[in-house]
């Protein structure tokens, strides 16, 4: 079967898998970004939250496939079992960048904010997070690129994504399925990267960093 015939016959299914892949990606990324920023702020502000860093480091060192497998006994196979381990993997880059972004905000800005009578919360939201935003978004970009390709692995536990095509391709020695599955995954990664770079630049401009 030529690639053209393959696309003709399976076009609908491919599109369906692509949409599912993107949805999975968006949910995992949104969760990871939110949790990562919260964890970063918590570690930055609260001494008691420092334990999060070593825990996240261990989780980060665990291969995705192991994490997926470890989650099966607790979460079963299916969407929850697929999204949770991915989301966990996505947190660390965001958390690390949130933390280093907040720590690298110019001390003069923090002192001016405090000295003028901003509360801790006002300082965080009006000064620190905004000025750390470009670094935080860079962390989200790292997460996004990783997640968009790692999501193919969820096919192993029966959750449909572009990974399904790749698995089919391997099982049936089908070059077309392999080509389409991996090609689309790679294309998505490139697009996501470009979008995030654009966001980063916007944030830089809003933070008054570019001229």
């Amino acid at each position: 079967m030529s690639l053209g015939q393959y696309l003709d016959i399976f076009g609908g299914m491919i599109l369906d898998l692509l949409v599912k892949h993107i949805l999975l990606f968006l949910v995992a990324l949104a969760g990871a970004a939110l949790a990562g920023i919260l964890a970063g702020v918590a570690v930055y502000r609260l001494r008691a939250a420092r334990f999060i860093v070593p825990v996240m480091n261990v989780l980060q060192a665990t291969p995705e496939i192991v994490l997926l497998a470890l989650c099966i006994p607790f979460l079963g196979i299916g969407y929850v079992g697929a999204i949770v381990p991915l989301f966990i993997k996505g947190i660390l880059p965001v958390m690390q960048n949130t933390l280093s972004g907040l720590r690298s905000v110019e001390p003069g800005l923090k002192e001016a904010a405090r000295g003028m009578g901003m509360s801790e919360r006002q300082t965080l939201f009006r000064v620190e997070l905004i000025n750390a935003a470009p670094v935080i978004i860079a962390g989200i970009r790292v997460s996004a690129i990783m997640l968009v390709s790692v999501i193919t692995l969820t096919a192993y536990i029966g959750v449909e994504s572009l990974g399904t095509l790749i698995l089919q391709g391997i099982a049936r020695m089908d070059a077309n399925a392999l080509l389409v599955g991996s090609g689309l995954s790679a294309g998505l990664a490139i697009i996501v990267n470009q979008i995030m770079i654009l966001l980063e630049k916007t944030a830089m401009r809003l933070a008054g960093r570019s001229r």
Partner: protein, 320 residues
């Protein structure tokens, strides 16, 4: 003396893990309308002293009163919003426009939009930045000197009676620094704040300070008017801070009017000098003309008195 704006009563600050206190039983009064310059080597406690006023640092012992109230009895955010604060790094928020930066404290205080906008324009005009040209700019689009002008405007935004300045012009080139110092003198003449300025630059302390407080190891080594210090430095260290040319600096702090003799012998053809000129400028005229006396003129250029060269040389011994 006018009312006391800031009072230090036996204030001590000890930082954890250090043996000697950073500030040691400090007593100091700052009056309304007065500029006090805190000066000393780094680590002498001058910045710690300043930051205890707006409670960026809390004292270990003793009490600080602002406008008659113990700073610990005022809610901390309210205290800070009521004190103008200018820092060396300027600390303008890069994501906000010049106008938004100046508006920070009024906004925290809940002023309405119209009042804030009017105040921002008024302050920009005060620091000589035309509002229509500057209010919409970002800090990155301003020079260092312009940024600190905005920094000063921001500190004055809610019209605080007290202005705290932490080495405000230390990062600026000498020409820009001098023009900002003049601006502060101007503003102070108009607004009569109580200003506490921390500096390591004796020239700055002499120019801006009504009183200079020299600190050494957390204590006051000497406090007095610039003329007091220049005439009688209490220790060799203070003398070295003031410099070998302190006699000349003294002349900079004094006006011709303070030494002229009304109705003294007027010599025809003697060079003239305005009575508001400094004695330092008069010395320059003596040096370049070689004349033994100068004709002192008033604002309209009318001769009103004379200034004898010998008077300059008697100045030092007269005060001893």
């Amino acid at each position: 003396m006018s009312e006391t704006a800031i009072k230090f009563r036996s204030v001590t600050k000890r930082f954890d893990g250090t043996e000697l206190p950073a500030v040691d039983r400090l007593d100091l009064d700052v009056h309304q309308g007065e500029t006090v310059a805190l000066i000393g080597a780094s680590g002498c406690g001058k910045t710690t002293t300043l930051k205890m006023i707006n409670r960026l640092i809390d004292p270990t012992d003793g009490a600080i009163m602002v406008a008659g109230r113990d700073v610990r009895s005022v809610p901390i955010l309210e205290l800070r919003r009521s004190l103008g604060y200018v820092i060396q790094q300027v600390g303008l928020f890069p994501h906000m426009t010049v106008a938004a930066n100046i508006a920070v404290v009024p906004q925290l205080l809940g002023w309405d939009r119209k009042r804030i906008a009017a105040r921002v324009d008024e302050l920009l005009a005060l620091v000589h930045l035309p509002p229509e040209q500057y209010r919409g700019r970002r800090p990155a689009e301003l020079s260092g000197g312009q940024q600190q002008r905005v920094g000063v405007a921001r500190a004055l935004a809610a019209d605080p009676p007290i202005l705290l300045m932490d080495e405000p012009f230390g990062a600026l080139d000498p020409i820009t620094r001098a023009s900002l110092q003049n601006e502060v003198l101007d503003i102070q003449r108009k607004l009569r704040k109580a200003i506490v300025i921390v500096t390591h630059d004796m020239e700055e302390a002499i120019r801006l300070g009504d009183r200079i407080v020299v600190m050494e190891q957390g204590r006051i080594a000497q406090a007095g008017t610039p003329a007091d210090l220049l005439l009688k430095p209490a220790t060799p260290f203070i003398a070295s801070l003031l410099g070998e040319d302190r006699a000349i600096k003294l002349l900079q702090t004094m006006k011709v009017a303070s030494l002229m003799q009304a109705g003294g012998e007027m010599t025809d053809g003697a060079p003239g000098i305005g009575r508001d000129a400094t004695l330092h400028e008069a010395l320059g005229v003596f040096l370049s003309s070689g004349a033994p006396g100068l004709t002192v003129t008033d604002e309209d250029g009318k001769a009103v008195a004379m200034l004898a060269r010998d008077g300059l040389f008697r100045l030092q011994s007269a005060h001893r």
